[in-house]
Amino acid sequence: MRYDTIIIGAGLSGLAAGIRLAYFDKSVCILERHTTIGGLNSFYRLRGRNHDVGLHAVTNYAKPGTKKGPLSKLLRQLRLRWDDFALCPQIGSSIAFPGHTLNFTNEFEYFQQQVSEVFPEQKDNFAKLVKAIEQHDALDLEREKVSGRKVVSSYISDPLLVEMLFCPLMFYGSATAHDMDFSQFVIMFNSIFREGFGRPYQGIRLLLKKLVKQFRSFGGELKLRSGVQSIREKDGKAIGVVLDDGTVLEADNVLSSAGSIETFNLCQQKNELVKKYQPGEITYVETIFSLDCLPSELDHHKTIVFYNDQPDFRYENPVLPADVKSGIICSPNNFDYDEPLEEGRIRITALANTDYWMNLSEEKYLEEKKNWCEKIIDSAVRYIPDFRDHILDTDMFTPRTIKKFTGHLNGCVYGAPDKFVNGKTHLKNLYLCGTDQGFLGIIGSMLSGISISNAYLMD
């Protein structure tokens, strides 16, 4: 069998790319090693309960009828309606630091007001920063990288506010420790503070289901349990793939969402290539609690709480197995749904030391998961009502889990620090999309697959 394009990975970026190609009559096959779709944003069922992985909230929220912005752009490209994703807006989120809390909703004016109230002396500075963000063309790919912290600090003179602004933006999308490129800061600022959070009632399943349905209806082919062991090459050009079971598939183009180094590992020149690039080091553990009541019944109404118990926010690969000084508390219940979700859920995410979790023996691994789950919950209940007496079931994933199910090195959810923004690789006809192309977030990842397809794979 010969295809116009083979796509490696049935995550959001691969599926979105597949839809575009199939719609325009290309023969396209998506290959996924796992037994199900989704990649870094997926789902599973455990002890009778449905869980989401990845997605806490869809950023870039836009109300129905919005004609501009990333969500509208995405829906048009995929030939979908707003109702297909059916995003329900968040109730409200917060950034909690020692002595200071900033609340935000999907109304940007409210956040501006919060900044003025909590940091009255920074009101004008923040207005100037917002203006600079508005004037910055973050999609100009030719621009030199500049330190986001430097630029933001040139407007905001209170370091605490700088930390508080960076905290959610880094947590939700920085592949680099400590700092992010200013363009990336602008993209994240807009997607989180200006546009905001939403979630479909059925979570990530709904989005993935719609994508697969659309892909198949346009004639695309999806093969699960079909891992790629190598990319076939001829004269510096990708000409197909070999599957784990030895099956050879030919293609004019290969589009990989596996990650940059992960993809190079499939190539002939892997030894030279892999030396050239650094794998990512930012990764997380996440604890998931099913409750016997809704979070709102415990008087917890926040959608997402980003917390940090120090004045400075350290976004890095921690020395300890998990960093309990900071974290993200997500309550999927706290979106503005028409009816409440069946069961209460609290998910707490914390930065994790990847090597530690990768190298434990199986027995010690289970023990340490339990141990750190308790430490994380102890830390988090300083910021939300104590829900410990209401836990029905607990699950936890670590970098090891992410590596196992997605193949991403070090279990890094935001990939490697160096992005391949134009999607090109050392091989002709081999392109990258997804995390290591560099558009992040749920909407961003789909736009990544679309952009690379539009740029190279339509002719």
Binding site: G65, K67, K68, S72, R76, Q77, R81, N454
Partner: protein, 87 residues
């Protein structure tokens, strides 16, 4: 195809690209960009839809002819003159 046929084809393309949009009041002499916020990616899609349907190639320098419905129809009229009307 007649002027009216082509107008209908373009309307159907716009409906596919922006299914949430109500096109009943679309004005033929006002830019699509102003009425529907179409961006460059959307214009490219109009071109690709036409290519998919009628195998016509529209060179990039001609995209400016796709600004309004009126302009699009008059630009396409000679190109699609030998194509049969949609059933």
């Amino acid at each position: 195809m007649s002027t009216e046929d082509i107008r209908q084809v373009i309307l159907e393309i716009l409906e596919r690209i922006a299914p949430d949009e109500d096109l009943t009041d679309l004005k033929d002499d006002v830019p699509f960009r102003d009425q529907m916020e179409l961006d460059s990616m959307d214009f490219l899609d109009i071109v690709m839809e036409l290519r998919k349907m009628y195998r016509v190639q529209i060179p990039e320098e001609d995209y400016e002819n796709l600004v309004t419905m009126d302009k699009t129809v008059s630009y396409l009229l000679p190109i699609l003159k030998d194509v049969n009307s949609p059933a």
